[in-house]
């Protein structure tokens, strides 16, 4: 059975290593597909693919994983994103994916030091 590739993923775009990401249904946290075909919050656990065919299989798999599960394993909005390899580790290429991996680039809430006005 051929797996439909989402509109956003065109064959020509697949020029580099990729991984699959999604948001966890329960809290929206960023998760990555592992080589055990489970979801992990750690990008270091992600499964990397370099090949178009394998990427398609990934999408097929994630559709299954995101559609058929219940409870804490459910995810929302799976897609492929480009990574580069650094000593075997996956590093996202785009700013958006870097921020999804590391969290907001600013300190916020309780971690933001209360600022005193300049007087």
């Amino acid at each position: 059975m051929s797996i439909p590739i989402p509109k956003t993923i065109k064959k020509t775009q697949i020029t580099t290593a990729q991984a699959v990401t999604a948001n966890r249904l329960s809290d929206g946290a960023v998760v990555y597909l592992t080589d055990q075909n489970t979801w992990s919050a750690e990008i270091d656990d992600c499964q990397i693919v370099n090949d178009q065919g394998v990427a398609e299989n990934f999408l097929s798999l994630t559709q299954e994983l995101s559609g058929g599960l219940s409870g804490g394993d459910q995810v929302v909005g799976t897609y492929l994103f480009k990574v580069q390899l650094d000593g075997g580790r996956a590093l996202p290429l785009s700013r958006r994916e870097i921020i999804r991996t590391t969290g907001p680039s600013i300190s916020f809430g309780a971690t933001a030091a209360p600022k005193q006005p300049q007087i």
Binding site: N23, L25, S26, D27, G28, A29, V30, S66, G67, G68, L69, S70, G71, Q74, V76, G77, L93, S94, R95, R96, I99, R100, G103, P104, S105, I106, F108, G109, A110, A112, P114, K115, Q116, P117, Q118, I119
Partner: protein, 554 residues
């Protein structure tokens, strides 16, 4: 203040129950995400980059101390201890867990608040002048009409699936603090030739990729006809607005394509039809207006002298306080009282963010030094609307201790910034760190005072949630092959003289943008004539001197 009647209570409670069931079915796998998404959006729940985001409406930007404490409680209990106030008088929580959202909505309902119609193609939270009811220049309190619109538009069956989202803003004063020309419908109160309060009706304003200022289609609409006229506008839009292209679906595109005169004619014809079909059915009888106006009745103000010797002495002896009064305090219509803006823009801070502790403390201040009210402004600040002048110094000292005493309202570091790529799923670039970097350049109070009134807004994408098009200096984040760039517009104005800014030239890289803003400020200071504000200088000299310095090749 907004008060729920029995219908509101029952409806909101029922909606929370329904959503609780929907969440349970989604988690159990009985609802797919495609089925669930419109349901969660109807309850203000978005999925952003790292988490869900819940947007809660603050009707016409007015909160009681009890409501503010509830917002703090939610931030502390279900989120990460803070909330983000937006230009549309909402608060956004950035980290709620899905399973907690029904409980949050229950908590909100207990203080007569909700998140309904903060998303989707419906009539959103109607915003109003944050100084409503206390501004010295006001004709009538616009919240009366905003409340009437709230009741009319909540779950309006005909207008729940419009071609696109729909935003209304109301002001009761000639000085526009609600950006009425930036909305789908803007209502600005004037006196008609007989001296009666009436609304100037402006239609088709909006930001986004096609920024347009709303056009006046009626100069004087008698207030009793407000709802029938709004109904006529919405009907024309609902029938003719484009549903085939999301980029052309807003009413601004319809008004533009039809032409404002033709659009106005269609509205008048529809209005006539409404009158013919059911004469007077949508009129607002005076008794009903008075009943709602009683929700916003003037407080029991004390009979205070106009001048306060305590305030005068503090102004003489405490220059930092005097600077705060100069920028953050405005005249009140009641002698002896003042309106105090609490800046949520500490230098280097995150525009619009407040911690749970700060929210609680502001609620305390509103009780001790006012009549239990807090306002949320378009500029993402808070307002204590009724501070006795004699208490201003004490209030400011407490604000300083809370990290809320920055003297920068209306100044260059009073930056409006959207969440941008740090949170937002639609973003192209970050807004917050850029705002922080720019505001850190202007920590010198003397310099900020010298620069004077200047608006600077930063949006992380062309959706323009931070209204950068109508800022004196607008900054738009764009993505160029995965790298964040920032495009500058100059000359925008958000008040009654609203104007759309013009792009000054090629975009700047992230590390260049704060320098570019400094250059713009330097050109202004160099070019300005006595007492000219930034916008006046820009309008007089035009973009050329700014361009020359910004893009000098040496």
């Amino acid at each position: 203040m907004c008060r729920y009647d029995e219908f509101d209570h029952a409806f909101v409670a029922e909606r929370v129950d329904q959503f609780r069931g929907q969440v349970a079915r989604r988690v159990a796998g009985d609802l797919s995400e495609d089925e669930f998404k419109p349901l969660r959006l109807m309850n203000g729940l978005y999925l952003q980059l790292h988490a869900y985001m819940l947007r809660v409406a603050i009707p016409y930007g007015t909160l009681s101390a009890t409501q503010m404490r509830m917002l703090a409680h939610i931030a502390r209990t279900y989120d990460r201890g803070y909330g983000h106030f937006t230009t549309r008088q909402n608060i956004q929580y950035n980290w709620p867990a899905l399973a907690d959202v029904p409980d949050i909505l229950d908590d909100l309902a207990s203080v007569e608040m909700h998140a309904i119609q903060t998303s989707g193609n419906c009539i959103r939270n109607t915003t109003a002048d944050p100084l409503a009811g206390v501004a010295a220049d006001e004709i009538e309190d616009p919240r009366v009409y905003a409340e009437i619109i709230r009741q009319w538009s909540t779950l309006h069956p005909e207008f729940s699936f419009l071609p696109r989202k729909f935003k209304i803003a109301v002001t009761g004063a000639p000085n526009d603090r609600a950006v009425t020309r930036g909305h789908d419908i803007g209502l600005r109160m004037h006196r008609d030739l007989q001296g009666n309060p009436s609304f100037e009706v402006m239609v088709g304003g909006g930001q986004g990729r096609t920024p347009i200022l709303a056009k006046t289609i009626r100069n004087f609409l008698p207030v009793e006809h407000l709802l029938s006229y709004l109904e006529a506008i919405l009907r024309v839009y609902n029938q003719l607005g484009r549903r085939d292209n999301i980029y052309k679906a807003r009413i601004k595109i319809l008004v533009q394509s039809e032409g404002e005169a033709a659009f106005a004619e269609q509205v008048e014809a529809e209005w006539q039809q409404i009158h013919n079909n059911a004469p007077g059915a949508l009129d607002l009888p005076e008794a009903e207006r008075n009943r709602i106006a009683a929700y916003f009745a003037p407080h029991g103000y004390a009979d205070l002298p106009k001048q306060s010797p305590i305030l005068d002495a503090a102004l003489d002896t405490d220059p930092a306080f005097a600077a705060w009064v100069e920028s953050n305090v405005q005249g009140h219509k009641q002698p002896g009282y003042a309106i105090a803006t609490i800046s949520l823009k500490p230098h280097g801070g995150i525009p619009g963010d407040a911690s749970a502790g700060q929210m609680d403390a502001v609620a305390d201040l509103a009780e001790r030094y006012g009549f239990d009210e807090i306002r949320i402004t378009y500029k993402q600040n808070l307002v204590l609307p009724d501070v006795p002048k004699a208490d201003l110094h004490t209030v400011w000292q407490e604000l300083v201790d809370l990290g809320l005493g920055t003297a920068n309202a209306g100044r260059i570091s009073d930056i409006i910034a959207c969440p941008g790529l740090d949170y937002c799923n639609l973003a192209n670039a970050r807004s917050i760190p850029i705002a922080q970097r720019i505001s850190e350049r202007f920590t010198d109070l003397q310099r900020e005072r010298e620069i004077g009134d200047l608006s600077l807004n930063i949006s992380g994408c062309i959706n323009a949630c931070a209204h950068h098009h109508v800022a004196n200096i607008g900054i738009l984040g764009v993505d160029k092959k995965g790298v964040e760039y920032y495009q500058i517009t100059l000359g925008g104005v958000a008040d009654e003289n609203a104007a759309i800014g013009a792009v000054i030239g090629p975009a700047f890289e992230e590390h260049q943008i704060a320098d570019a803003v400094e250059t713009i400020v330097d050109v202004y200071l160099n070019e300005r004539e006595t007492d000219e504000r930034f916008i006046e200088t820009y309008q007089r000299v035009g973009p050329q001197p700014f361009k020359e310095k910004l893009y000098a090749t040496d």
